[in-house]
């Protein structure tokens, strides 16, 4: 066929050409004799490598004793070892062209690192030292404690933080997932021996996963890993508690008063599922259509049509034991009620009407394309591998992800929306200047009001 005349070239959207297959880089997966799981993948985009050493224990496992102590432990491991003082550690990292960070969430603790491949052995040795021989210097501990307290005070003035904090408390109550950060008083009561106990018990190879991606040969890298981590003594680790969750009946509104706020932060949420649940991909697709992409219904409605907000989105959040779904937007003060009405209108539309074929196909393509983009960088690849391995998903999870997404139907989306967009029992958090918001917020359910410290008003 002759090519189109010039004028048509400019007026007609070009068709997609045939897709080139995603080619998976060679990867090695093995478990050392002390129990350390290792995943190594080649990626030669730049002469660097990136790694994450995970421990499958985070703040949840110690929430009853000292909330946040896993995070403080992770913070402290880079401040001193039996062989190196804090300043030495920082200077050695710089000498190797390396970045390193450490922290803990509810379910895991992690040391993340990246550096030039020329220095891979030195960096691995340093990571091994931090995770096996941390010395927890008392003066560094007091400095970190003060920095954490000052950070918490600033978070208490941040509407996004206050909204997440309240939502997690509402959805998970006394379960460890109910708190996203410790209180100032809790931090003040931390003791070094609590950190050391956590470190001794959970920083163990049998509890650990090492993922590395980069410009190396997996075989040669595995030999280095065995040499550096092979002698680490195994240990036995316990599971996090899983206490009962609060019963949630009917819509409730939680207004958090942040004086002088010039905008309202809205979050609507309900409990959902973990990544291991058979409905996970259905829910992921439903979320993408609802508010998980730029081209989604929520964004089109409250941003591109109505101009209520810059930042609307919805998300599915998998934790190890539970998960939740949330819808959020920071909106101008006078459209809080209007925004909530539109959020629920779009939720109910997802729950009542099957999505059309074109919108469905667009959303499936979006998710599979995004997945391919995520494999094109060392960090992206490491992230995908870490998720699937940490959660102990099936061995072929990543390889089959695209075809499983492409097989989903409008009935799958409807089913997921009906099950997991729990419109009738949605919990509503609004953070902002109370006098400007409370009449609007109260329209949506029985309301409780809190101050920025979390105390009822």
């Amino acid at each position: 066929m002759a090519s189109a005349p010039r004028s048509e070239i400019h007026t007609t959207v070009p068709a997609l050409s045939p897709e080139r297959p995603v080619i998976w880089p060679p990867r090695g997966r093995t478990t050392l004799s002390n129990g350390l799981e290792v995943v190594l993948v080649e990626s030669h985009t730049i002469p660097k490598f990136t790694g994450q050493l995970f421990f499958r224990s985070g703040n949840a496992v110690v929430a009853a004793k000292a909330p946040g102590i896993a995070d403080m432990t992770a913070t402290m491991v880079r401040t001193g070892t039996t062989a190196r003082a804090s300043r030495q550690i920082e200077e050695d990292l710089r000498r190797m062209g390396a970045d390193l960070s450490s922290g803990a969430g509810a379910d895991t603790s992690v040391v993340s690192f990246a550096g030039l491949v020329d220095f891979s052995n030195g960096l691995l040795r340093l990571v091994a030292e931090l995770t096996q021989q941390a010395s927890f210097p008392a003066d560094e501990f007091e400095r970190e404690r003060r920095q954490l307290v000052e950070g918490l005070r600033i978070e208490r003035a941040t509407s996004g933080f206050l909204a997440s904090e309240r939502m997690r408390k509402v959805l998970f109550g006394a379960h460890p997932y109910g708190a996203i950060s410790p209180t100032e008083a809790q931090v003040e009561s931390y003791r070094l021996d609590q950190l050391q106990d956590f470190y001794r018990q959970y920083y163990r190879p049998g509890n650990a996963l090492l993922v590395m991606v980069g410009d190396f040969s997996p075989q040669a890298m595995l030999a280095q890993v065995e040499q550096v981590f092979g002698s680490w003594a195994a240990g036995k680790v316990d599971e996090a508690p899983n206490p009962a969750l609060p019963e949630l009946y009917g819509r409730r509104v939680y207004l958090v008063h942040l004086p002088d706020a010039v905008q309202a932060q809205i979050v609507v949420g309900n409990r959902a599922i973990t990544r291991k649940h058979p409905d996970w991909l259905r829910l992921t697709l439903a979320n993408s259509i609802y508010g998980g992409a730029f081209n989604s219904r929520l964004v089109m409605n409250i941003r591109e049509q109505k101009g209520y907000t810059y930042s609307p989105r919805s998300g599915v959040h998998p934790l190890r034991q539970h998960g939740y779904f949330s819808i959020s937007a920071a909106v101008r003060n006078d459209v809080v009620a209007a925004t909530l009405s539109e959020m629920f209108y779009e939720v109910d539309r997802m729950r009542s009407t099957p999505v059309g074929e074109e919108e469905l196909a667009d959303a499936r393509n979006y998710l599979t394309g995004l997945f391919s983009l995520g494999l094109a960088t060392q960090d992206g690849l490491a992230g995908q591998l870490a998720t699937s391995t940490l959660e102990r998903l099936p061995e072929d999870y990543l390889e089959t992800y695209r075809e499983r997404i492409l097989a989903l139907t409008a009935a799958d989306v409807l089913d997921a929306a009906q099950k997991y967009f729990d419109s009738a029992n949605a919990q509503i958090v609004v953070v902002g200047d109370r006098p400007q918001l409370e009449t609007q917020a109260a329209l949506f359910g029985k309301m409780e009001v809190y101050d920025a410290q979390g105390e009822p008003m």
Binding site: V22, P47, G97, Q147, F294, A330
Partner: protein, 438 residues
Amino acid sequence: MTQLNIPIESMSLPNGLRVVVSPDRAAPVATVGVYYNIGFRIEPRGRSGFAHLFEHMMFQGSANAGKMVHIKLINSSGGVLNGSTHYDVTNYYESVPSNALERVLWLEADRMRALKVDDENLRNQRDVVKEEVRVNVLNQPYGGFPWLDLPPIAYRNWSNAHNFYGDFDDLDAATLDDVQKFFKTYYAPSNAVLLILGDVDVDEGFKLAERYFAGIPSGPQPAPADIDEPPQIDERRGVVEEKFGTLPGIAVGYPAPRRLTPDWCAAAMLDRALHGGRAGRVYRSLVLEQQIAVDAEGGIHYPVGDLFDYNGPTLMVTRLLHKPEYSADQTIAAYDQILDEMKEKGITSEELEPIKVKFRSNYFSMLEGGHGASIPRYGLMHLLACFTLFDNDPHLVNSILDGFMEVTPDAVQSVARKILRRPNRSLVVRQPAKKEAA
């Protein structure tokens, strides 16, 4: 040391559009960028925030792709897209599975050819932008600190000194006529560069660029704007109230050298010696050792730009949050001592060489990503664009590191003495508002 050898081919179309292709077929994805040589520095007077508002309008519809068509076509092809406004450039970019490359180029060409927007689109995006300013600045602890605080203190030329995000009155005053005029003035093909990176070969990239962009009429090249600053003879200071945060903040800026000069390379090393993370002198001294501050960061053209993406006056900035038990004066005195020591004693090669290793390592990471995991090669695209628009040489991406690696300890000390002068600097204090007792 690894010598960089990134494949780069460039050409110009008869309408003046420059095209740069950098192929890498390893993964079946492509990143496309169109950069216009216009940033928020030279938006019209009385229209602060307009360059950024205009960037939003570029997503509102073009000749053959109406409102929401851009976003829908890219997302439904499995891709992501965005745009951003900087001091001296505005960019629009997409990352897609490579089978959608042609579609992306069609869309970018369509909006370079003609913007098709109406009053309702403008009203809508004005509202969206106001919420963007609220969520990022007005309703955030330390919002705009110091990127919106320092320019009005440091500069005398309105272009450099005004509110880049926009006063709401100015945003309200913007008209559709302003939008079309701005488009005509600054969005001509000769004021732009098209970048195609990833899964494409050079001939194919050039052929597609020709097919979709060559027919766009050329326009007059905008007159160069006056962004010069009169010489500064005294230290400049200001105070800004911090509405939400509990700690006082201090930011200090010193004029940074012009790009691609030997002083620029030396200043980059000086900057990393001072601000290079926890091993940098400022963080180590003020946060880790003296424990006056709880946070310290900084950089050249920090925090909304980097060493490579400015083409006019900018600052090397230090940003501190300090403990309330120390006064601003005490904190500044401790900070000055760090700079004085650098000026007096300089730096040893034992300290400088590791800084170079880290700089090189950071540069590689920037090339590969630099913008989250979903825009592969954003950093490479950004560098290629700036080197093309500002320096007319995209190949600098492969050679620019050499100048930094050759910096000597003497050069660092000498540039420190030259730029870290008190009469030369600007300083802002973020003072937490007095709260009534609860």
